[in-house]
Symmetry: C2
Subunit: 469 residues, 2 copies
Amino acid sequence: MAAQFNPVTPELLAELRQVVGDKYVKTDEDYLERYQTDEEGNSHYFHKPEVVVFPGSTEEVAAIVKLANKYLVPITPRSAGSGVACGAIPVYHGMVVELERMNQILKFDADNMYAVCQTGVITGDLQREAAKHGLLYAGDPSSADSSMIGGNVANNAGGNKAVKYGTTRHQIYSLKVVTPTGDILDAGARLKKSSTGLCLEQLFAGSEGTLGIITEVTVKLRPMPPYAFNMVCVFKTDEEAFALPNKILKAGIDPTSIEFMDNEALRMTCKFLDMKMPHVDEGCDYVIVTVESFSEDDSDRKMEQLCDLAEANGSIDEFEADKRIWTLRKQFAEAARDVDKMFQTEDFVVPLDKIPEITKQIPELREKYDLYCVTVAHIGDGNIHVLPLNAKGLSPEEWFQKIKAFHRDLFPRVYALGGKMSGEHGIGYKKLEEFALCTPQAELNVIKAIKKALDPNNIMNPGKLVEIG
Amino acid sequence: MAAQFNPVTPELLAELRQVVGDKYVKTDEDYLERYQTDEEGNSHYFHKPEVVVFPGSTEEVAAIVKLANKYLVPITPRSAGSGVACGAIPVYHGMVVELERMNQILKFDADNMYAVCQTGVITGDLQREAAKHGLLYAGDPSSADSSMIGGNVANNAGGNKAVKYGTTRHQIYSLKVVTPTGDILDAGARLKKSSTGLCLEQLFAGSEGTLGIITEVTVKLRPMPPYAFNMVCVFKTDEEAFALPNKILKAGIDPTSIEFMDNEALRMTCKFLDMKMPHVDEGCDYVIVTVESFSEDDSDRKMEQLCDLAEANGSIDEFEADKRIWTLRKQFAEAARDVDKMFQTEDFVVPLDKIPEITKQIPELREKYDLYCVTVAHIGDGNIHVLPLNAKGLSPEEWFQKIKAFHRDLFPRVYALGGKMSGEHGIGYKKLEEFALCTPQAELNVIKAIKKALDPNNIMNPGKLVEIG
């Protein structure tokens, strides 16, 4: 059911200019074209906005939202546009509200280990600022150097440190949010605990911009562990690799990250980077384990314990990872993009004990849908990136249809094992239909009831997550 | 604005008996009297239900909720009734739905470190079952031996291990909830991360039974650290004591718990238990720090580091705590109750750096309201239990009025420092007015909108948290 909205009129444009100033209201064709997509490369999904607005403050955002309600024009909030679920594509046209101007760290309190960031602060900038003070901002999506903190929260971005520190939702104390009716709300507080009212900050976090626009985030900082090691454990079979994480966790090693690259992914990325890495030619997988510690002794002890565990589980070699390993892991997406700009990053998530069951079904699906796939995974948290690559150069529409069919087959298998379709990327526009198909009616009803209650005119990022028509 | 409900009729009773069986529908006067209160001792708050129903399954709970909507009769969900915010008092009469029969651990999976508990499982039983398998259930309210897991989740109970492991909301993977319209919903999943839909499990957790009845909880279990020490650091002044937690946290000692007992609280409890403890006669406070470790070396190193930090901050003595210390801490509430069954447990929470600012205002308030107060606190998370005791034997109504006046003075001071009125006990019926007064309108609007959207007939624990009339 398509939502009914009004077009952007000259009257609305005039009011928007009054709010943010002439130069921050863009209707030029090159802007509309630039904002027709986010990280998505398949033109099937592209939709142009009618106007792009660049507010400079929470109050301006609130005024814009009030105008959207007055004129019944949809808003698509956006920060870096680095999402991969088409969450920042304006599927009903209307306004894109681009928050990149709001890019200041408003407060950085090293003594009390928190920072107040505007939504447009680049995640990597916050990480580096924290590091200067011996502190850690533990949100660490692979996109950290381009993604922004507001978008990280809106999508509950995951990344490389989630095993120890959780995802972005676990890094936040509180949020400043402009609600869909244009009120300014402080959700949460800089408190270690609270049983005062509903936990609204966690409701807004991960709501993909459908319940409001996040304009400020108060993040937790942590003491930076001074010792760390990265160990690559080499396995001949996926099954042996997948059995390791649970044993590491049970042993109390408390790893920061447990990453997996299958042999296909290793070969593709080594080729792309013109690198040679041990045991790749022998057909092996890598499990890369990062452990941080506050003492050298503790670090040494855990390294020994980890190697023992890995060997007991069939690892044929362990070696300390150098920078090449992280280059390999982080450049993997670029290597995929080098095959074709249209590629699909699955990010389904299953309980750790179900990883072998789901991954062993992938070869059958590859064959059935004639797909070339590589796999990397945050196997410490069950989050599997199977990447079908458009190696045969299908057209946007053909590729779209192929991936739809693949999803309709894959996701019910994931849900049958107690999993969900997205561990860190979100539903957005891309998986809207799949989410409606896989989610029990009682859960959909509650989500829609909340959406309708907070956004009666359905102007806040409509066409994402759930369609309320 | 009072809610409008119908009385419980013979027709409704007949239908309830069909659902749960005759013997689980109680209208005898002794039941109605027993269920007129929970842990609350002040008769000012008491309200009798018209019927108490004891369902045996989620399906029975759902059928009861459907009847409540059909007859427009309010439901007050209850498990152990160990709450201290009058959350289980049926303020509009109607039905109390007592979940104590649903007391099974349905699944305990030690390999994959989780358990599925019915809502009526006693928290301490779950802790002990976990310990048998070398695992830890980290939710640990002081009431663990009587409170139940469903109530812990509904109130987001805190307790003694929250510094390291968080509160009850951080111990859950997923919840089975009967919504206010009688649907059965699985919120969340046994996943380490998810960006799939709204974070409903965290919305229901801490909603104090106003958004539905939790019937099952899937909890996280963790490896039990085999080494632990409890160190008492003795301080002559509150200020020195309060400065310690932040320094412990920044040093990466990762304490499980940092507890505080002021001299008055120590004296009162020592007298009640007829114990003698070091430095209490000298007017000193205790800070009790618990640190768990996976290696003896790590434990030793942290103990040394902790003592150095404490001494640098003015501690005059440190000694390892034995069982007496925990008896002291846990029997503190009993000692308070021994003064009078009516006593008030404040549980406001502030940022750690604001603890000195709020506590130094307490003597003024004590004097102003002629109150005898003792203080214990989870100072590792800013959660302060100031306990005004009814030492002068005021009547229920006089005591109620005195505490109301005290709250109206205290809470705005807490909020001015970025705090909130409840760190772990909730709002319930007891602080309903105070919550409405201290909470910004935009936040109240969102909470009410969600409540109305999920509970259109307002039958689910009305008169708690917010009044939607």
